[in-house]
């Protein structure tokens, strides 16, 4: 929540100095943080707490995606084409997939152990 609020503030402040030019990437960053924070929380509450390392992997993925979105926004507002940011998105999504897959395997193993 605090991170999302901070990013919302960043978007607001950035807009004050961007001569009316905005970026949807910047606008959507707080929402992505909220979704990527709350959605897993609901899953975890329903199915059980994963290992701390999986939570950390998920956070790292989120950090990479957030950094990529902020940078995309800054470059868009500056009128540049986004270069070399595909790897940021790639790493972020890969970490999310690894965390989600390991969590599913953990749940499957837990189910099998019952």
């Amino acid at each position: 929540m605090i991170v999302a609020a901070g990013l919302f503030l960043l978007d607001f402040v950035y807009n004050q100095f961007s001569h009316g030019i905005g970026s949807w990437y910047m606008h959507l960053v707080p929402t992505v943080v909220l979704l990527a924070g709350f959605a897993p929380a609901f899953v975890v509450a329903r199915f059980g707490e994963p290992k701390p390392v999986l939570i950390e992997l998920w956070r790292m993925g989120l950090s990479a995606v957030v950094a990529a979105m902020i940078l995309t926004g800054i470059l868009e507002i500056a009128g540049s084409e986004t270069r070399s940011l595909a790897s940021f998105y790639g790493v972020g999504i890969l970490l999310w997939l690894i965390a989600a897959t390991l969590y599913l395997l953990y749940l499957a193993r837990k189910e099998a152990d019952r």
């Binding site: 001569h19 009316g20 030019i21 905005g22 390392v53 950390e56 790292m60 950090s63 990479a64 950094a67 940078l71 800054i74 470059l75 868009e76 500056a78 009128g79 540049s80 084409e81 270069r83 070399s84 940011l85 940021f88």
Partner: protein
């Protein structure tokens, strides 16, 4: 546990450094590209320059200055909107006639260069440090204009700022990759046409006699009609801003326009208003160049407009007309 901590810490340090590098690479680090030679032009013998400083206050004078008789005939009647404008300078040779006007439209100061050339090849492009395709290779419009013995110059499409999009300068193909953008072409015969880059190839444009191809946009006017929409993507189009534009009336007859903005004196215009200005100037085709603080018009040794940063921004390229 310690290994995990090192891995996590390493990841965040790497992410921080990578983000910093992306920003440095985009805005600070200089990387040179290809050296581009500017064609030499023949020396002309007859030259007249007349400039008029504003009389009472900065924009109070409405009395047009008498233009010295040019050696090249003005094609037809000048656009009627220019009868309300103040002439702030003129220059002519036997093959060139440039008149610089200032007028008030949309709460903004509009600077118009009415250009008549005998040969479209008199309209040239130049890059900062004669370098194309690098990053952060920039100079002011003034510096580039002086270095190329220009009499007139305006910022253009900052072609090196992008990695894609057709670029032809002075007949030389410099970039062949297309984009989603629409480009505009000035042919060697003096005609001008805009087109979707995805609809053609740069080689086909060269075959078609392309002398200059600029890739920025949007296209403002096509076949004498406004074709822009403030609500279309990107959203910067609908914002009041300083603007630069290129307009075409007939082969050899062009308008270069700069609108000041981001001040209380001059608000700036959106792209629909800019298109209307080019229509008032009787343009059949018109195209938007890089704007914002890049918008700069230079004539006979001086910047004629007021760039919004309060001083000239360093940009990547110019369109210019040599003396």
């Amino acid at each position: 546990m310690k290994k995990q901590l090192i891995f996590i810490l390493g990841f965040y340090i790497l992410l921080f450094l990578s983000s910093g590098f992306v920003l440095l690479d985009e805005f600070v680090l200089v990387q040179t590209g290809t050296h581009v030679e500017i064609p030499t032009t023949t020396t002309r013998t007859t030259t007249t320059v007349s400039t008029t400083e504003p009389t009472t206050d900065e924009f109070g004078s409405t009395e047009p200055t008498t233009i010295a008789d040019p050696n090249i005939a003005y094609p037809g009647e000048k656009p009627s909107i220019l009868n309300q404008a103040t002439v702030i300078g003129s220059y002519h040779t036997e093959t060139l006639l440039i008149t610089i006007y200032r007028l008030r439209l949309y709460g903004s100061n509009v600077f118009v260069a009415d250009v008549v050339v005998a040969d479209a090849k008199q309209i040239l492009g130049a890059f900062a440090h004669n370098d194309f395709g690098g990053s952060n290779v920039v100079e002011t419009v003034s510096t580039m204009a002086r270095n190329n013995q220009a009499v007139f110059a305006i910022n253009s499409d900052w072609a090196s700022h992008y990695t894609e999009g057709f670029v032809i300068r002075n007949g030389q193909i410099l970039r062949t990759t297309d984009t989603y953008r629409h480009a505009v072409m000035l042919r060697e015969d003096g005609s001008v046409v805009s087109f979707a880059e995805e609809s053609t190839t740069v080689e086909a444009l060269a075959q078609d006699g392309a002398w200059q191809v600029w890739s920025f946009g949007p296209v403002l006017v096509k076949a004498g009609q406004s074709v822009v929409d403030n609500d279309a993507w990107p959203d910067r189009n609908g914002v009041l801003n300083p603007r630069s534009a290129f307009g075409y009336l007939a082969p050899g007859h062009y308008m270069f326009v700069v609108v000041d903005g981001r001040t209380d004196v001059s608000l700036g215009v959106d792209v629909e208003q800019l298109a209307n200005i080019l229509l008032l100037l009787d343009c059949d085709e018109a195209y938007n160049f890089d704007g914002g603080s890049s918008s700069t018009m230079w004539f006979d040794g001086e910047v004629v407009n007021h760039p919004s940063n309060g001083e000239e921004r360093e940009v990547g390229d110019i369109v210019f007309i040599p003396r």
